[in-house]
Structure formats: structure tokens, C-alpha cells
């Protein structure tokens, strides 16, 4: 008998044990992106951070420093404007904008369609600037080879403890705007040790795109990544 209303219509309740990752489809699409990058010999890097931690500024400086060394492409994720893409375009590299509207992160499908619009055969190093947000982007694999999280000294040293997932999912932590560290009460040791507690495999570089401090270490890491890709 039907349990809802007592009518005589028999209904069968069926319980299906699924046990599957909810983002399984995204993960499969991410794997496809990664395969496509590899086919073209491209190193893909996903930049994640809170709004304003310095992702676009870092990209501008990185493009200058890698001029003549490798060919760069950038995919810009933003809620609304094309401003960041325009800043990158000024630097003379290939750039595609993804405006996500209401969505606070990039997913693999969005990156896939942006990749279609890029001259992949000309690119060695593809940066994806994710939407400024310390929570959501970390849940989505977009198919790059390296996840980089930026934490600016202006945000406070408590962020790793508050937003563990992004630090867990990253390969590299960039502590940015170190030129401001003196004025702010940013406990560098605490931020780094909290992040390393969450993820002992995390590499850490402290830099300032403004003063140039630490940029050599970042550039060396990128060049090493590129060499490993080719060999």
C-alpha cells in the first residue's frame, strides 16, 4: 500500500547505493584538459587566491621576466569585467577571458572551452587566473599541472587555518606583497607553519611583484617546470 496516502496503488521503493564523487564529471573533464595540454607540450598553472591578493600583478611581472624565454598564454576568470584580461593583453600575450557571472570559481568545462579559443600550438606556459575566492576554486580540478595559492600579507596570517582546502590542494604557496610585511602585523612564521601543517608537501616562496624581491625564485621554479615538461 502507498505509505503517503493509504491508496491501494503499490509503489516500489528502491534504494540505490551510489558512492560516487559528486564532481566526478568535472574530474573527467579536467583529465581531458590535462591530456590536451600535454599533447601540446604546455605547462598549465592554476592561480588561486582571495580577491586582490595580486594574481594579475604577478602575471604582468612574470610575463615581463619571461620575455624571450617562453611563450605565455593566459586564461582569465572573473565574475564580471574584462579588466584583468585587458591588463594582460597590454603585455602582448594570448589571453582569453571567462566571465563566470554568478559562479565563484572556474570549472574544467569552462577552461576547456577557453582553451579551444587559444593558439595552443604557440604556447609553452598557460596560466589560468581563477576567480578571486579562497574557498570554491579549490574544490574544482581544472586540468592544470600545478595549483598555486597566493596569500598576501594584507590578508592576515590566519588564512591557512581558516581555509584549509585550498592549501591542501595546492603545490605551491606564494606569500605576496612582502614589501608591506613590515607595516602590517603579519606573522610570516605562523602563516607558513600553519600551511605546512595542512600540507607538508607545499613549496613556499615569499615575493613582492612590486619590489621584485623573491621573483627570481618564482621564475626559476617556472623554468624548471618547463624544462621537466620538455624532457
Amino acid at each position: 500500500m502507498c505509505q503517503d496516502c493509504g491508496c491501494s496503488l503499490t509503489t516500489n521503493t528502491k534504494v540505490l547505493e551510489v558512492q560516487k564523487r559528486i564532481l566526478e564529471k568535472n574530474d573527467a573533464e579536467a583529465a581531458q584538459n590535462r591530456a590536451k595540454l600535454e599533447k601540446h607540450g604546455i605547462l598549465g598553472i592554476n592561480l588561486m587566491s582571495s580577491p586582490g591578493a595580486g594574481k594579475t600583478t604577478l602575471l604582468e611581472k612574470t610575463i615581463e621576466l619571461l620575455d624571450g624565454i617562453c611563450s605565455i598564454g593566459v586564461i582569465e576568470g572573473d565574475l564580471e569585467t574584462e579588466r584583468d584580461a585587458e591588463r594582460i593583453r597590454q603585455k602582448g600575450v594570448a589571453v582569453q577571458q571567462i566571465t563566470t557571472g554568478q559562479t565563484c570559481h572556474l570549472d574544467a568545462a569552462m577552461v576547456h572551452s577557453a582553451m579551444h579559443r587559444m593558439p595552443l600550438e604557440e604556447i609553452d606556459l598557460l596560466f589560468v587566473e581563477n576567480v578571486g575566492n579562497l574557498v570554491c576554486p579549490a574544490a574544482y580540478d581544472i586540468g592544470t599541472h600545478m595549483n598555486v595559492v597566493l596569500l598576501s600579507v594584507t590578508e592576515g596570517d590566519d588564512k591557512p587555518a581558516k581555509y584549509p582546502l585550498v592549501f591542501l590542494k595546492s603545490d605551491l604557496l606564494l606569500i605576496t606583497k612582502t614589501d608591506l610585511a613590515g607595516v602590517l602585523e603579519f606573522d610570516m612564521e605562523k602563516a607558513v607553519s600553519d600551511a605546512l601543517t595542512i600540507n607538508p608537501r607545499l613549496q613556499v616562496i615569499k615575493l613582492s611583484a612590486k619590489s621584485g624581491d623573491g621573483m627570481d625564485e618564482w621564475i626559476t621554479l617556472l623554468r624548471k617546470g618547463l624544462e621537466d615538461r620538455i624532457s
Binding site: L16, C136, L165
Partner: protein, 123 residues
């Protein structure tokens, strides 16, 4: 706030399973959310109730099982739950710990109804 996107993925997946099983409606969707999976359970509930209309889940309840953070210490081999700080062994203080559970978002189970008698047995 990616709860809306997560709900969209849940609805799409459930829709697929419901079709496969020729279900007429879905009564309950159970998911397991890790403590550090980055979703906010009450926002996920709101998102689910907002978007389930006009889908096979329109009458479904969403049950969210929060899975505590669980780590295994690589120094003393003990297992601990809900550690604070998150990745430090409460027994020996080592930070050399391995995450066992707590970051995943899993679609655990779907309870469906069909008026068709052949679908009674589960796979």
C-alpha cells in the same frame, strides 16, 4: 559559494540514475560531505530546495552526512578525528599526518520510487 554548482551536479547525476532505474520520483538523496570539503551544509540545503523544482527530485529530501576530518599519524600510527589544529596528531604532536577522510563530496545513496513492479530488486 559554489553550493549552487554542487547542487546542479547532484541533480544531473540523480536524474541520470533515476532514468536508468525508470523511477517515477526520488524521495531522498543522501550525500556525504567532508568537514573541509568547502561546502556550507545549510547553503547546500537551500540551493537544493531552490533548484529541485521541475526535476525528478522535486519531492526529494536532501540528507547531508557530515564526515569528520580523520587523520592518521605517520609517527605514532594512531588515528584521530576532528583534530585541532587540523593536521596535528593529538597523541604525539607530530604534524606528519595523512588525511584519511574529510575533503570529499560523495553522492552516497538515492531512494527512488517507481510504480513498476520489476524494478524492486536492487542492483
Amino acid at each position: 559559494m559554489h553550493e549552487f554548482s554542487i547542487v546542479q551536479s547532484i541533480l544531473d547525476t540523480v536524474e541520470g540514475y533515476a532514468r536508468q532505474s525508470s523511477a517515477s520520483s526520488v524521495k531522498r538523496v543522501v550525500i556525504r560531505a567532508g568537514a573541509i570539503s568547502g561546502i556550507e551544509p545549510h547553503l547546500l540545503q537551500i540551493a537544493f530546495d531552490t533548484f529541485k523544482g521541475h526535476t525528478v527530485c522535486s519531492e526529494a529530501a536532501l540528507e547531508i552526512i557530515i564526515e569528520p576530518l580523520k587523520v592518521e599519524c605517520c609517527s605514532c600510527s594512531k588515528i584521530a578525528e576532528n583534530t585541532n589544529p587540523l593536521f596535528r596528531c593529538p597523541f604525539c604532536g607530530s604534524t606528519d599526518v595523512r588525511l584519511l577522510n574529510g575533503e570529499d563530496l560523495i553522492l552516497e545513496r538515492i531512494e527512488m520510487e517507481s510504480s513498476d513492479a520489476e524494478t524492486q530488486d536492487s542492483p
